[in-house]
Protein backbone atom coordinates (compact mmCIF):
# COMPACT_ATOMS: atom_id res chain seq x y z
CA UNK A 1 0.00 0.00 0.00
CA UNK A 2 1.47 3.28 -1.21
CA UNK A 3 0.84 5.56 1.77
CA UNK A 4 1.59 2.89 4.33
CA UNK A 5 4.79 2.10 2.45
CA UNK A 6 5.79 5.76 2.76
CA UNK A 7 4.99 5.83 6.47
CA UNK A 8 6.68 2.46 6.89
CA UNK A 9 9.71 3.73 5.03
CA UNK A 10 9.81 6.78 7.26
CA UNK A 11 9.53 4.58 10.34
CA UNK A 12 12.34 2.31 9.23
CA UNK A 13 14.58 5.28 8.46
CA UNK A 14 13.90 6.72 11.90
CA UNK A 15 14.92 3.46 13.53
CA UNK A 16 17.95 2.83 11.37
CA UNK A 17 19.44 6.27 10.98
CA UNK A 18 18.11 8.08 14.02
CA UNK A 19 16.21 10.68 12.01
CA UNK A 20 13.17 10.63 14.28
CA UNK A 21 12.96 14.42 14.31
CA UNK A 22 12.78 14.59 10.52
CA UNK A 23 10.15 11.85 10.47
CA UNK A 24 8.06 13.70 13.06
CA UNK A 25 8.23 16.95 11.08
CA UNK A 26 7.36 15.26 7.78
CA UNK A 27 4.49 13.34 9.34
CA UNK A 28 3.20 16.52 10.98
CA UNK A 29 3.29 18.15 7.56
CA UNK A 30 1.40 15.22 6.03
CA UNK A 31 -1.24 15.42 8.79
CA UNK A 32 -1.67 19.16 8.28
CA UNK A 33 -1.97 18.73 4.51
CA UNK A 34 -4.52 15.97 5.07
CA UNK A 35 -6.51 18.35 7.28
CA UNK A 36 -6.50 21.11 4.69
CA UNK A 37 -7.57 18.81 1.86
CA UNK A 38 -10.29 16.94 3.79
CA UNK A 39 -13.35 16.66 1.50
CA UNK A 40 -16.30 18.70 2.70
CA UNK A 41 -18.58 15.66 2.39
CA UNK A 42 -16.40 13.78 4.88
CA UNK A 43 -16.63 16.42 7.60
CA UNK A 44 -19.58 14.70 9.32
CA UNK A 45 -17.74 11.38 9.48
CA UNK A 46 -14.59 13.16 10.61
CA UNK A 47 -16.31 15.01 13.48
CA UNK A 48 -17.84 11.73 14.61
CA UNK A 49 -14.42 10.05 14.79
CA UNK A 50 -12.92 13.14 16.47
CA UNK A 51 -15.68 13.22 19.12
CA UNK A 52 -15.37 9.47 19.79
CA UNK A 53 -11.63 9.89 20.26
CA UNK A 54 -12.14 12.69 22.81
CA UNK A 55 -14.77 10.65 24.63
CA UNK A 56 -12.51 7.60 24.87
CA UNK A 57 -9.36 9.53 25.77
CA UNK A 58 -10.70 12.21 28.10
CA UNK A 59 -14.21 11.45 29.32
CA UNK A 60 -13.71 7.74 29.93
CA UNK A 61 -10.42 8.42 31.77
CA UNK A 62 -11.71 11.32 33.85
CA UNK A 63 -12.24 9.36 37.06
CA UNK A 64 -8.86 7.66 36.84
CA UNK A 65 -7.04 10.93 36.17
CA UNK A 66 -8.93 12.81 38.90
CA UNK A 67 -8.20 10.18 41.56
CA UNK A 68 -4.53 9.99 40.56
CA UNK A 69 -4.25 13.78 40.61
CA UNK A 70 -5.86 14.03 44.05
CA UNK A 71 -3.41 11.43 45.34
CA UNK A 72 -0.56 13.22 43.62
CA UNK A 73 -1.47 16.52 45.31
CA UNK A 74 -1.78 14.72 48.64
CA UNK A 75 1.61 13.02 48.27
CA UNK A 76 3.38 16.26 47.34
CA UNK A 77 1.88 18.11 50.30
CA UNK A 78 2.44 15.15 52.60
CA UNK A 79 6.14 15.08 51.70
CA UNK A 80 6.70 18.81 51.59
CA UNK A 81 4.55 19.97 54.46
CA UNK A 82 6.52 18.57 57.37
CA UNK A 83 9.81 19.94 56.05
CA UNK A 84 8.37 23.30 55.12
CA UNK A 85 6.70 23.87 58.49
CA UNK A 86 9.80 22.73 60.36
CA UNK A 87 11.93 25.20 58.40
CA UNK A 88 9.37 27.96 58.77
CA UNK A 89 8.63 27.95 55.04
CA UNK A 90 4.94 27.14 55.23
CA UNK A 91 4.09 29.87 52.75
CA UNK A 92 6.11 28.03 50.11
CA UNK A 93 3.74 25.05 50.12
CA UNK A 94 1.70 26.50 47.27
CA UNK A 95 4.86 27.15 45.29
CA UNK A 96 5.97 23.54 45.78
CA UNK A 97 2.62 22.17 44.61
CA UNK A 98 2.63 24.43 41.58
CA UNK A 99 6.27 23.76 40.68
CA UNK A 100 6.22 20.01 41.17
CA UNK A 101 2.60 19.08 40.59
CA UNK A 102 1.20 21.57 38.11
CA UNK A 103 4.29 22.28 36.01
CA UNK A 104 6.00 18.90 35.88
CA UNK A 105 4.07 15.93 37.22
CA UNK A 106 0.64 16.80 35.80
CA UNK A 107 1.57 17.03 32.11
CA UNK A 108 3.96 14.08 32.24
CA UNK A 109 1.71 11.74 34.25
CA UNK A 110 -1.36 12.69 32.22
CA UNK A 111 0.55 12.01 29.03
CA UNK A 112 1.71 8.63 30.29
CA UNK A 113 -1.90 7.72 31.17
CA UNK A 114 -2.97 8.80 27.67
CA UNK A 115 -0.12 6.79 26.14
CA UNK A 116 -1.02 3.70 28.17
CA UNK A 117 -4.77 3.89 27.55
CA UNK A 118 -5.22 5.56 24.19
CA UNK A 119 -1.87 5.22 22.41
CA UNK A 120 -1.81 1.47 22.83
CA UNK A 121 -5.46 1.21 21.75
CA UNK A 122 -4.75 3.22 18.60
CA UNK A 123 -1.69 1.12 17.75
CA UNK A 124 -3.64 -2.12 18.29
CA UNK A 125 -6.57 -0.88 16.20
CA UNK A 126 -4.43 0.24 13.28
CA UNK A 127 -2.18 -2.82 13.36
CA UNK A 128 -5.35 -4.95 13.25
CA UNK A 129 -6.65 -2.86 10.35
CA UNK A 130 -3.38 -3.63 8.55
CA UNK A 131 -3.58 -7.34 9.40
CA UNK A 132 -7.18 -7.57 8.16
CA UNK A 133 -6.46 -5.68 4.94
CA UNK A 134 -8.76 -2.77 5.91
CA UNK A 135 -6.10 -0.08 5.51
CA UNK A 136 -4.98 -1.52 2.15
CA UNK A 137 -8.59 -1.66 0.95
CA UNK A 138 -9.19 2.00 1.85
CA UNK A 139 -6.00 3.03 0.09
CA UNK A 140 -7.03 1.04 -2.98
CA UNK A 141 -10.36 2.89 -3.03
CA UNK A 142 -8.57 6.25 -3.19
CA UNK A 143 -9.13 7.15 0.47
CA UNK A 144 -6.27 9.06 2.12
CA UNK A 145 -5.56 6.91 5.15
CA UNK A 146 -3.94 9.84 6.93
CA UNK A 147 -7.26 11.67 6.63
CA UNK A 148 -9.27 8.65 7.67
CA UNK A 149 -7.13 7.09 10.41
CA UNK A 150 -4.49 9.58 11.58
CA UNK A 151 -6.08 13.04 11.46
CA UNK A 152 -9.12 12.49 13.76
CA UNK A 153 -6.97 10.54 16.22
CA UNK A 154 -4.20 13.15 16.39
CA UNK A 155 -6.67 16.03 16.75
CA UNK A 156 -8.88 14.16 19.23
CA UNK A 157 -6.04 12.93 21.45
CA UNK A 158 -4.37 16.37 21.41
CA UNK A 159 -7.54 18.11 22.62
CA UNK A 160 -8.29 15.35 25.13
CA UNK A 161 -4.75 15.32 26.56
CA UNK A 162 -4.88 19.10 26.92
CA UNK A 163 -8.20 18.91 28.78
CA UNK A 164 -6.97 16.07 30.99
CA UNK A 165 -3.79 18.01 31.85
CA UNK A 166 -5.91 20.95 33.05
CA UNK A 167 -8.13 18.57 35.03
CA UNK A 168 -5.04 16.94 36.54
CA UNK A 169 -3.68 20.38 37.49
CA UNK A 170 -6.92 21.39 39.19
CA UNK A 171 -7.32 18.07 40.99
CA UNK A 172 -3.69 18.19 42.20
CA UNK A 173 -4.34 21.57 43.80
CA UNK A 174 -7.55 20.24 45.38
CA UNK A 175 -5.67 17.16 46.63
CA UNK A 176 -3.11 19.47 48.19
CA UNK A 177 -5.84 21.53 49.83
CA UNK A 178 -7.54 18.48 51.31
CA UNK A 179 -4.23 17.22 52.70
CA UNK A 180 -3.31 20.59 54.18
CA UNK A 181 -6.69 20.67 55.90
CA UNK A 182 -6.31 17.12 57.12
CA UNK A 183 -2.86 17.82 58.55
CA UNK A 184 -4.17 21.01 60.20
CA UNK A 185 -0.90 22.78 59.75
CA UNK A 186 -2.09 25.53 57.46
CA UNK A 187 -5.35 27.39 56.93
CA UNK A 188 -7.29 27.04 53.70
CA UNK A 189 -6.89 30.75 53.00
CA UNK A 190 -3.14 30.62 53.52
CA UNK A 191 -2.84 27.63 51.19
CA UNK A 192 -4.95 29.27 48.50
CA UNK A 193 -3.00 32.53 48.81
CA UNK A 194 0.23 30.61 48.52
CA UNK A 195 -1.01 28.80 45.38
CA UNK A 196 -2.32 32.04 43.86
CA UNK A 197 1.04 33.72 44.35
CA UNK A 198 2.90 30.81 42.76
CA UNK A 199 0.53 30.28 39.86
CA UNK A 200 0.64 32.53 36.79
CA UNK A 201 -1.23 32.71 33.52
CA UNK A 202 1.84 31.34 31.75
CA UNK A 203 1.45 28.11 33.78
CA UNK A 204 -1.99 27.65 32.25
CA UNK A 205 -0.67 28.34 28.75
CA UNK A 206 2.19 25.91 29.37
CA UNK A 207 -0.22 23.22 30.54
CA UNK A 208 -2.35 23.75 27.44
CA UNK A 209 0.69 23.70 25.15
CA UNK A 210 2.25 20.64 26.71
CA UNK A 211 -1.06 18.82 26.76
CA UNK A 212 -1.61 19.50 23.05
CA UNK A 213 1.97 18.55 22.13
CA UNK A 214 1.94 15.39 24.23
CA UNK A 215 -1.42 14.31 22.84
CA UNK A 216 -0.53 14.97 19.22
CA UNK A 217 2.88 13.32 19.61
CA UNK A 218 1.48 10.23 21.32
CA UNK A 219 -1.27 9.85 18.72
CA UNK A 220 1.16 10.24 15.83
CA UNK A 221 3.66 7.80 17.31
CA UNK A 222 0.88 5.29 17.92
CA UNK A 223 -0.65 5.70 14.46
CA UNK A 224 2.73 5.20 12.79
CA UNK A 225 3.45 2.23 14.99
CA UNK A 226 0.15 0.63 13.95
CA UNK A 227 0.36 1.49 10.27
CA UNK A 228 3.88 0.17 9.73
CA UNK A 229 2.91 -3.21 11.18
CA UNK A 230 3.24 -6.15 8.82
CA UNK A 231 0.12 -8.02 7.83
CA UNK A 232 0.12 -10.69 10.53
CA UNK A 233 -1.74 -10.97 13.81
CA UNK A 234 1.52 -11.30 15.74
CA UNK A 235 2.39 -7.75 14.70
CA UNK A 236 -0.41 -6.32 16.86
CA UNK A 237 1.31 -6.77 20.25
CA UNK A 238 4.60 -5.60 18.73
CA UNK A 239 2.90 -2.46 17.46
CA UNK A 240 1.41 -1.84 20.91
CA UNK A 241 4.75 -2.22 22.63
CA UNK A 242 6.45 0.01 20.04
CA UNK A 243 3.75 2.67 20.48
CA UNK A 244 4.26 2.74 24.24
CA UNK A 245 8.02 3.05 23.81
CA UNK A 246 7.79 5.84 21.24
CA UNK A 247 5.12 7.64 23.28
CA UNK A 248 7.37 7.59 26.35
CA UNK A 249 10.10 9.22 24.26
CA UNK A 250 7.58 11.88 23.17
CA UNK A 251 6.55 12.58 26.78
CA UNK A 252 10.13 12.92 27.97
CA UNK A 253 10.99 15.04 24.95
CA UNK A 254 8.10 17.43 25.56
CA UNK A 255 9.04 17.68 29.26
CA UNK A 256 12.64 18.48 28.33
CA UNK A 257 11.44 21.06 25.82
CA UNK A 258 9.22 22.67 28.45
CA UNK A 259 12.11 22.98 30.90
CA UNK A 260 14.41 24.35 28.21
CA UNK A 261 11.91 26.99 27.18
CA UNK A 262 11.33 27.97 30.82
CA UNK A 263 15.07 28.33 31.41
CA UNK A 264 15.47 30.40 28.25
CA UNK A 265 12.53 32.59 29.22
Amino acid sequence: MFVVDIVGGLGRRARNAGTAGVVAIRLSGAVLRAGVSLPRAALGQWWGAFARQIQFTAWDALTLVSVLALLCGAIIIGEANAQAVRLGLADTIGRIVVAAGVREIAPALTALIVAGRTGTAIAAELASARALGEADALDALGVDIIQYYVLPRVAGVAVAAMALTLVFDAATLVGGLITVQALQQMSMTAYLDSVRLALSVSDVYEAIGRGLLNGAGIAMASCVSGLIARRTATEVPRAVSRAMMWSSVVVIGVSALGIMLRVLA
Binding site: I6, L132, A135, A137
Partner: protein, 224 residues
Protein backbone atom coordinates in the same frame (compact mmCIF):
# COMPACT_ATOMS: atom_id res chain seq x y z
CA UNK B 1 -11.12 0.20 -29.22
CA UNK B 2 -8.79 2.33 -27.09
CA UNK B 3 -7.03 0.68 -24.14
CA UNK B 4 -8.30 1.90 -20.79
CA UNK B 5 -5.53 -0.05 -19.06
CA UNK B 6 -2.16 -0.86 -20.60
CA UNK B 7 0.72 -2.76 -19.06
CA UNK B 8 3.92 -2.78 -21.08
CA UNK B 9 6.90 -5.00 -20.20
CA UNK B 10 6.15 -4.82 -16.48
CA UNK B 11 8.35 -6.51 -13.90
CA UNK B 12 7.77 -6.24 -10.14
CA UNK B 13 10.26 -4.18 -8.13
CA UNK B 14 11.34 -7.09 -5.95
CA UNK B 15 12.81 -10.05 -7.87
CA UNK B 16 10.18 -12.74 -8.05
CA UNK B 17 10.73 -16.30 -9.23
CA UNK B 18 7.13 -16.59 -10.45
CA UNK B 19 7.19 -13.27 -12.31
CA UNK B 20 10.54 -13.31 -14.06
CA UNK B 21 9.46 -12.26 -17.57
CA UNK B 22 8.10 -8.86 -18.62
CA UNK B 23 4.30 -8.74 -18.63
CA UNK B 24 2.29 -6.95 -21.32
CA UNK B 25 -1.49 -6.65 -21.47
CA UNK B 26 -4.04 -4.21 -22.84
CA UNK B 27 -7.61 -3.93 -21.61
CA UNK B 28 -9.78 -2.17 -24.21
CA UNK B 29 -12.60 0.11 -23.12
CA UNK B 30 -15.89 -1.71 -22.72
CA UNK B 31 -14.41 -5.16 -22.18
CA UNK B 32 -14.09 -7.51 -19.24
CA UNK B 33 -10.70 -9.21 -19.06
CA UNK B 34 -9.89 -12.10 -16.75
CA UNK B 35 -6.30 -13.12 -15.96
CA UNK B 36 -6.10 -16.53 -14.33
CA UNK B 37 -2.78 -17.22 -12.70
CA UNK B 38 -1.10 -18.27 -9.46
CA UNK B 39 -2.10 -16.67 -6.12
CA UNK B 40 1.19 -14.78 -5.86
CA UNK B 41 1.07 -13.36 -9.39
CA UNK B 42 -2.59 -12.48 -8.96
CA UNK B 43 -1.81 -10.63 -5.72
CA UNK B 44 1.12 -8.72 -7.24
CA UNK B 45 -0.65 -7.87 -10.48
CA UNK B 46 -3.71 -6.42 -8.73
CA UNK B 47 -1.51 -4.19 -6.56
CA UNK B 48 0.69 -3.04 -9.44
CA UNK B 49 -2.45 -2.08 -11.37
CA UNK B 50 -3.48 0.35 -8.62
CA UNK B 51 0.02 1.67 -7.89
CA UNK B 52 0.24 0.02 -4.48
CA UNK B 53 3.35 -1.90 -5.55
CA UNK B 54 6.22 -0.48 -7.52
CA UNK B 55 7.58 -1.89 -10.72
CA UNK B 56 11.23 -2.50 -11.61
CA UNK B 57 10.63 -1.81 -15.26
CA UNK B 58 7.87 -1.20 -17.77
CA UNK B 59 4.87 1.06 -17.54
CA UNK B 60 1.34 0.75 -16.18
CA UNK B 61 -1.06 3.24 -17.76
CA UNK B 62 -4.49 3.46 -16.15
CA UNK B 63 -7.11 5.74 -17.70
CA UNK B 64 -4.33 7.41 -19.67
CA UNK B 65 -2.08 8.12 -16.64
CA UNK B 66 1.10 6.24 -15.61
CA UNK B 67 -0.12 5.26 -12.15
CA UNK B 68 3.32 4.35 -10.78
CA UNK B 69 4.74 7.78 -11.63
CA UNK B 70 2.03 10.16 -10.48
CA UNK B 71 2.04 12.01 -7.14
CA UNK B 72 0.16 10.68 -4.11
CA UNK B 73 -2.67 13.16 -4.66
CA UNK B 74 -2.93 12.37 -8.38
CA UNK B 75 -2.94 8.66 -7.59
CA UNK B 76 -5.83 9.11 -5.16
CA UNK B 77 -7.78 11.09 -7.74
CA UNK B 78 -7.10 8.37 -10.29
CA UNK B 79 -8.19 5.65 -7.87
CA UNK B 80 -11.44 7.49 -7.20
CA UNK B 81 -12.32 6.77 -10.85
CA UNK B 82 -11.71 3.05 -10.32
CA UNK B 83 -13.62 0.41 -8.40
CA UNK B 84 -11.15 -1.81 -6.58
CA UNK B 85 -11.64 -5.03 -4.67
CA UNK B 86 -8.55 -6.73 -3.30
CA UNK B 87 -8.14 -10.05 -1.54
CA UNK B 88 -8.72 -9.85 1.43
CA UNK B 89 -11.63 -7.50 0.84
CA UNK B 90 -10.89 -5.50 3.99
CA UNK B 91 -14.41 -4.40 4.89
CA UNK B 92 -14.18 -2.10 7.90
CA UNK B 93 -15.27 -4.30 10.78
CA UNK B 94 -16.61 -1.44 12.94
CA UNK B 95 -19.02 -0.21 10.26
CA UNK B 96 -22.22 -1.69 8.88
CA UNK B 97 -22.15 -3.07 5.35
CA UNK B 98 -23.88 0.02 3.94
CA UNK B 99 -21.50 2.35 5.79
CA UNK B 100 -18.66 0.40 4.22
CA UNK B 101 -19.92 1.74 0.90
CA UNK B 102 -20.72 5.26 2.08
CA UNK B 103 -17.66 6.14 4.17
CA UNK B 104 -14.99 5.48 1.49
CA UNK B 105 -17.20 7.29 -1.03
CA UNK B 106 -17.42 10.46 1.08
CA UNK B 107 -13.74 10.38 2.05
CA UNK B 108 -12.62 10.19 -1.54
CA UNK B 109 -14.83 13.11 -2.44
CA UNK B 110 -17.98 11.31 -3.63
CA UNK B 111 -17.08 11.93 -7.23
CA UNK B 112 -20.22 11.56 -9.30
CA UNK B 113 -22.43 10.75 -6.31
CA UNK B 114 -24.63 13.51 -4.93
CA UNK B 115 -26.33 11.26 -2.39
CA UNK B 116 -23.94 8.52 -1.24
CA UNK B 117 -26.46 6.72 1.00
CA UNK B 118 -29.16 6.54 -1.66
CA UNK B 119 -26.59 5.42 -4.22
CA UNK B 120 -25.25 2.72 -1.87
CA UNK B 121 -28.79 1.53 -1.12
CA UNK B 122 -29.48 1.25 -4.85
CA UNK B 123 -26.33 -0.83 -5.34
CA UNK B 124 -27.32 -3.14 -2.46
CA UNK B 125 -30.85 -3.42 -3.86
CA UNK B 126 -29.52 -4.41 -7.27
CA UNK B 127 -27.13 -6.96 -5.79
CA UNK B 128 -29.93 -8.48 -3.70
CA UNK B 129 -28.36 -7.93 -0.26
CA UNK B 130 -30.40 -4.93 0.92
CA UNK B 131 -31.69 -6.86 3.94
CA UNK B 132 -28.14 -7.10 5.31
CA UNK B 133 -27.28 -3.44 4.77
CA UNK B 134 -27.28 -2.42 8.42
CA UNK B 135 -25.40 -5.43 9.76
CA UNK B 136 -21.70 -5.48 10.43
CA UNK B 137 -19.46 -7.63 8.22
CA UNK B 138 -18.87 -10.16 11.02
CA UNK B 139 -22.64 -10.68 11.36
CA UNK B 140 -23.38 -11.70 7.77
CA UNK B 141 -22.58 -14.88 5.83
CA UNK B 142 -19.34 -15.01 3.86
CA UNK B 143 -21.06 -14.81 0.46
CA UNK B 144 -23.01 -11.69 1.49
CA UNK B 145 -19.79 -10.16 2.77
CA UNK B 146 -18.10 -10.79 -0.56
CA UNK B 147 -21.00 -9.33 -2.53
CA UNK B 148 -20.97 -6.32 -0.18
CA UNK B 149 -17.27 -5.79 -0.87
CA UNK B 150 -17.98 -6.01 -4.59
CA UNK B 151 -20.76 -3.44 -4.08
CA UNK B 152 -18.23 -1.12 -2.48
CA UNK B 153 -16.13 -1.31 -5.64
CA UNK B 154 -19.19 -0.48 -7.75
CA UNK B 155 -20.16 2.68 -5.83
CA UNK B 156 -19.38 5.83 -7.78
CA UNK B 157 -19.89 4.34 -11.25
CA UNK B 158 -16.24 3.36 -11.77
CA UNK B 159 -14.71 3.73 -15.21
CA UNK B 160 -12.62 0.63 -14.56
CA UNK B 161 -13.12 -2.25 -12.14
CA UNK B 162 -10.01 -3.94 -10.73
CA UNK B 163 -10.93 -7.13 -8.90
CA UNK B 164 -8.75 -9.73 -7.20
CA UNK B 165 -10.33 -13.14 -6.53
CA UNK B 166 -13.87 -11.79 -6.22
CA UNK B 167 -16.93 -13.59 -4.79
CA UNK B 168 -15.39 -17.05 -4.49
CA UNK B 169 -17.93 -18.10 -1.85
CA UNK B 170 -21.03 -17.12 -3.83
CA UNK B 171 -23.17 -19.96 -5.20
CA UNK B 172 -23.02 -20.42 -8.97
CA UNK B 173 -26.52 -19.21 -9.84
CA UNK B 174 -26.28 -16.20 -7.55
CA UNK B 175 -22.82 -15.45 -8.92
CA UNK B 176 -24.18 -15.39 -12.45
CA UNK B 177 -26.73 -12.74 -11.44
CA UNK B 178 -24.10 -10.74 -9.58
CA UNK B 179 -21.76 -10.72 -12.58
CA UNK B 180 -24.56 -9.70 -14.92
CA UNK B 181 -25.39 -6.73 -12.66
CA UNK B 182 -21.71 -5.78 -12.32
CA UNK B 183 -21.28 -5.88 -16.05
CA UNK B 184 -24.19 -3.47 -16.43
CA UNK B 185 -22.79 -1.08 -13.78
CA UNK B 186 -19.14 -1.19 -14.84
CA UNK B 187 -18.47 -1.56 -18.53
CA UNK B 188 -14.72 -2.18 -18.24
CA UNK B 189 -13.00 -4.54 -15.83
CA UNK B 190 -9.85 -6.52 -15.20
CA UNK B 191 -10.11 -9.47 -12.86
CA UNK B 192 -7.08 -11.33 -11.56
CA UNK B 193 -7.77 -14.69 -10.03
CA UNK B 194 -6.19 -18.00 -9.23
CA UNK B 195 -9.58 -19.72 -9.10
CA UNK B 196 -11.49 -21.31 -11.91
CA UNK B 197 -14.81 -19.46 -12.15
CA UNK B 198 -17.16 -20.53 -14.93
CA UNK B 199 -19.77 -17.90 -14.10
CA UNK B 200 -17.18 -15.16 -14.41
CA UNK B 201 -15.90 -16.55 -17.70
CA UNK B 202 -19.47 -16.39 -19.02
CA UNK B 203 -19.55 -12.60 -18.71
CA UNK B 204 -15.90 -11.99 -19.65
CA UNK B 205 -14.80 -10.94 -23.13
CA UNK B 206 -11.20 -12.07 -22.79
CA UNK B 207 -9.62 -14.76 -20.69
CA UNK B 208 -5.87 -15.02 -20.28
CA UNK B 209 -3.99 -17.86 -18.65
CA UNK B 210 -0.69 -16.82 -17.12
CA UNK B 211 1.56 -19.64 -16.03
CA UNK B 212 5.20 -20.62 -16.27
CA UNK B 213 4.90 -20.72 -20.07
CA UNK B 214 3.83 -17.07 -20.11
CA UNK B 215 0.63 -15.20 -20.83
CA UNK B 216 -1.67 -16.66 -23.45
CA UNK B 217 -5.18 -15.99 -24.53
CA UNK B 218 -7.68 -18.78 -23.93
CA UNK B 219 -11.11 -19.34 -25.40
CA UNK B 220 -13.66 -18.35 -22.76
CA UNK B 221 -15.93 -21.30 -23.52
CA UNK B 222 -13.11 -23.84 -23.60
CA UNK B 223 -11.83 -22.76 -20.18
CA UNK B 224 -15.27 -22.82 -18.70
Amino acid sequence: MSAILALTDVLPSKPNAEWADPFTLNVPKGTWTVVRTTPERSHLLARILIGAKETASGEVVVLGRPIGKVSRTERRLLLSDLGVLLDPAGLLSNLSLIDNLIVPAVFRGSKGISLPREHAEDVFQELGIAEYANRRPADVPEDVRQIGALGRALVGNPRLLVLENPIASVRSRAAEDVWRICRALAPTAIITSFRRDEMLYNVADDLYLWDSAGLRRAAVEASA
